[in-house]
């Protein structure tokens, strides 16, 4: 599964793109990430699956493009 990271999250993870094992849904993914990168626990972020922001616990297909999005600050 391809995981994209942006902004402060890319800094925490140290990369903008990583390959990780598949996770069935976003809740399990977030749990794994917070364990791997404890700094994520203090950070507000949202998740996009295939370029669409999702909310709540959403299932993830194996070929999905998942992205971690800190609060937007364009403009």
């Amino acid at each position: 599964m391809k995981l994209l990271a942006f902004g402060k999250i890319a800094e925490i993870i140290g990369k903008q793109e990583i390959e990780i094992e598949n996770f069935p849904n976003t809740d399990i993914l977030v749990g794994y990430l917070q364990q791997q990168y404890p700094a994520l626990k203090d950070l507000k972020f949202s998740i996009a699956i295939d370029k669409k922001q999702v909310s709540g616990n959403v299932s993830i297909t194996t070929d999905a493009e998942v992205a971690l999005l800190p609060p937007f600050s364009g403009g």
């Binding site: 942006f6 902004g7 402060k8 992205a67 800190p70 937007f72 600050s73």
Partner: protein, 148 residues
Amino acid sequence: MEKKRTPKNIFVEGAISPDKIAKSIANHSSKTDIGGHSIFLGQVRADEKEEGSVVAIDYTAYQDMALQQAFEIREAIFAKYPLTCMHIYHSLGEVKTGEICLFVFTSSKHRKAAIDACEELVERIKKELPIWGKEILNNEKSKWKVNT
């Protein structure tokens, strides 16, 4: 004939030059059904932070998603207001204080639609586009920008 619109690139490498803005305005002189243009420009401020003072903002984006999102916002605004034209440009990479990082441009027959659409576009761009600004400080530190 209904024009089929597709996602357009909104990103510009570095600052948006006043010259680009002038050219964009001049391009509309052939559209003689336009009565009013509304333009918003975002400029990078030299804010004083606890950690230091801002000298530039370095913008990054989830580009594919941002372009898709910008396209959907465009379509919604075109559906809501009787506009002749709409243009959105946002910087990527480093933009120094005093330089322009956002250029939103709407045109319509009458001023009200252009003005209201421009304001709504600016709000939606700031809130809905996956773009991040990293404030570069004068002491080699940096700080992630927070939109209010």
